[in-house]
């Protein structure tokens, strides 16, 4: 088991280094860092001096290692458009995105799992069919359309909820800001969270339903029924428990993509998070921010993957004895 964890850890580090190198190539070779930092009136000699100072004349391998070492210390250089350290910019916007992503994930789980279970247990009922039809619409409706639709109904037509921003935020600790403690903050959160959760919810629902249907056909379910256990015990104790492993994988991976998909939601609702910052950097070719964001998402995915792998071992006793990569 230790060997298994060790191997996953090595693979994770490999992925991180690969992502880091891609980020470095972007940072160093896409657009000239010096040109972005100085004005037109800077002389060639001054430019040359700056190049030397920044170490842009060193061998590529030295530069790559320096980039990775700096990144490990959260030093991603200075944004071309804001003239501020990238780490500060991302740090200031991280709470907004993470809060939105966390609420959306919880929402998609709380709605998706029960809907999936119901659709599997009562699969011929009208409600189950409605869930399935809705899920197909949910998958076909682009995230930004869902957002626009919600804004139209709840902001324009009914005027119940604010259509942009985070509302009032409260400082918690030295740098974290939260909108969860104010009424306007909570009201602002509702629509973005639903928009972000909808797509994940449909995925989770379809997956739980498919897994439940599969498990309900298994012999041990028939045996549990034969033992005279109540339907409730069979469904929830035996069946649902055994669907959790694949559900966990997908939910874990979706958690990462929720952060990525928040780019769209943040744009629709003018939510002041990292996704908005990243989009601005793409529009303005602000390479340091793009590289840092890529690294951040890479790190996030690697951590999530690792945690999911470890949870596997915790949940599935079969993996504990045989220490092989059965998760693939």
């Amino acid at each position: 088991m230790i060997a298994f964890i060790f191997r996953r850890l090595l693979a994770s580090i490999g992925v991180l280094i690969a992502v880091g190198l891609i980020a470095f190539v972007m940072f160093r070779y896409v657009g000239d860092p010096v040109n972005q930092m100085v004005g037109i009136e800077t002389s060639a000699a001054e430019r040359e001096q700056l190049r030397q100072q920044l170490g842009l004349d060193d061998p590529t391998i030295v530069q790559a290692l320096r980039f990775l070492a700096n990144a490990a210390r959260l030093d991603f250089g200075v944004s071309y458009q804001f003239r501020q350290p990238v780490a500060d910019l991302i740090g200031a916007r991280m709470p907004a995105t993470l809060e939105l992503a966390a609420v959306a994930s919880i929402l998609s789980l709380l709605a998706g799992v029960p809907m999936g279970v119901y659709a599997a247990l009562r699969r011929d009922s009208a409600l189950a069919k409605l869930f399935l039809a809705l899920s197909l619409v949910g998958i076909s409706l682009p995230t930004f359309l869902t957002g626009i639709l919600l804004i139209y109904v709840f902001s324009v037509a009914l005027g119940w909820l604010p259509s942009f921003g985070r509302g009032e935020v409260v400082h918690v600790g030295s740098w974290w800001t939260t909108g969860l403690l104010t009424v306007s903050g909570l009201k602002s959160l509702i629509m973005p969270a639903i928009t972000l959760a909808l797509f994940q919810m449909t995925l989770i629902m379809r997956l739980v339903r498919a897994e439940m249907l599969e498990v309900l056909r298994a012999d041990y379910i028939r045996f549990a029924r034969a033992r005279g256990l109540s339907e409730r015990a069979v469904h929830f104790h035996h069946a649902l428990k055994n669907t959790l492993v694949p559900v966990m994988t997908v939910v874990g991976l979706q958690l990462g993509s929720i952060v990525a998909f928040s780019i769209i939601t943040e744009t629709v609702f003018a939510w002041p998070g990292m996704g908005q910052l990243f989009l601005q950097s793409v529009q303005n070719v602000d390479i340091p921010i793009m590289a840092a964001y890529l690294l951040f998402i890479g790190l996030l995915f690697v951590i999530i993957n690792l945690v999911v792998d470890l949870l596997y071992v915790a949940v599935d006793p079969r993996l504990r004895g045989a220490a092989h990569g059965a998760s693939d």
Partner: protein, 319 residues
């Protein structure tokens, strides 16, 4: 077809029939006609495809010709609501462009980018998958590792990054002219992995079959074996992925255009139209955003339904 050259003793050892073979047998046609939803989705897709193809003939005006659009017509409501103008079936946007014409042209752009980028992603993925599966060894290991890493990132993020990098490399000059090509490449490159993994898997199975061994024995070149013998037998899953990815590619393009890094307002896709229309959501001009959105949602839903059907029809395990 390659499999006709070898006739195994028992029928069970036959390689799966190629996609064209199945089609000729009528399995697909029968399963298509058996579901009303699928037939409806097929009809809707066909109508939208035709509308896009013949947009210049159907559209009453050319929305991209500045001389044919007048600002005085701007924000005219649709024909069927109060204050509407019979010339504008679905109303006009802020530039005085006829929405019905703009949607037809936008549909055309959205579909073209979708088809081109899926074709590009499919071509790269199928080629890489065939080579990786057939060659094995380090080629396979390297390619699949790259695929694994890329797969951990959502396609939309990769497309956004590629879009940003492309614009940096093109020095931001002529962003409008290159937008179409950049989008196709960005979306295409973010979609190759799924093709490659599937084709590699099928190739691994096919390369040990008797017809491939026979082809090797008569000293056919690897290229010929791959293209003429293995490729036709791995095309079924590729078509399923292509259909589902077409819906995804259309959504991705619309999203990128909506985010403002896709197509410019001078050559709008459905996503660009929605982006423009969103600005008028609060001032009551709902038709500018509503009709492009409806068209996009209908298109994607229809293509998704077709993809679902194709997946079930070509996958005997699910029957």
């Amino acid at each position: 077809m390659g499999e006709a050259e070898v006739e195994p003793a028992n029928a069970e050892a036959l390689p799966p029939r190629s996609f064209l073979g199945r089609f000729a047998d009528g399995d697909l046609v029968a399963s298509f006609l058996s579901s009303k939803v699928t037939v409806a989705a097929g009809l809707v897709t066909a109508i939208l495809l035709l509308a896009a193809a013949f947009a210049p003939l159907i559209a009453p005006t050319n929305p991209f010709d500045p001389a044919a659009n007048f600002l005085i017509d701007s924000l005219t409501p649709p024909r069927f609501v109060a204050g509407g103008d019979p010339r504008f079936l679905l109303g006009a946007d802020d530039q005085g462009r006829d929405m019905w014409s703009a949607i037809l042209y936008g549909l055309r752009v959205s579909l073209l980018i979708g088809v081109f980028s899926v074709a590009l992603g499919g071509a790269i993925g199928v080629t890489v998958g065939l080579i990786a599966g057939y060659a094995g060894g380090w080629v396979d290991a390297v390619v699949m590792r790259i695929a694994d890493v890329q797969l951990t990132f959502p396609a939309i993020l990769i497309a956004l990054l590629l879009d940003g990098v492309a614009h940096a490399l093109l020095k931001n000059s002529g962003r409008d002219e290159t937008a179409f090509g950049v989008l196709v490449v960005a979306i295409g490159l973010s979609f190759w992995v799924q093709f490659a993994r599937t084709v590699r898997g099928s190739t691994l199975v096919e390369k040990n079959r008797e017809y491939v061994q026979a082809a090797r024995l008569i000293a056919l070149s690897p290229t010929r074996i791959l293209v003429r013998h293995i490729l036709p037998n791995v095309m079924g899953p590729v078509l399923v992925i292509a259909t589902i990815n077409l819906a995804l590619a259309i959504i991705t393009e619309a999203t990128l255009s909506f985010l403002g890094v896709g197509l410019p307002p001078t050559q709008p896709s459905l996503g660009t139209l929605i982006r423009i229309g969103q600005n008028f959501l609060f001032s009551g001009e709902w038709w500018i955003v509503a009709f492009p959105s409806l068209t996009l949602a209908t298109l994607v839903l229809a293509v998704n339904l077709l993809g679902d059907w194709l997946r079930d029809a070509l996958n005997p395990r699910l029957k």
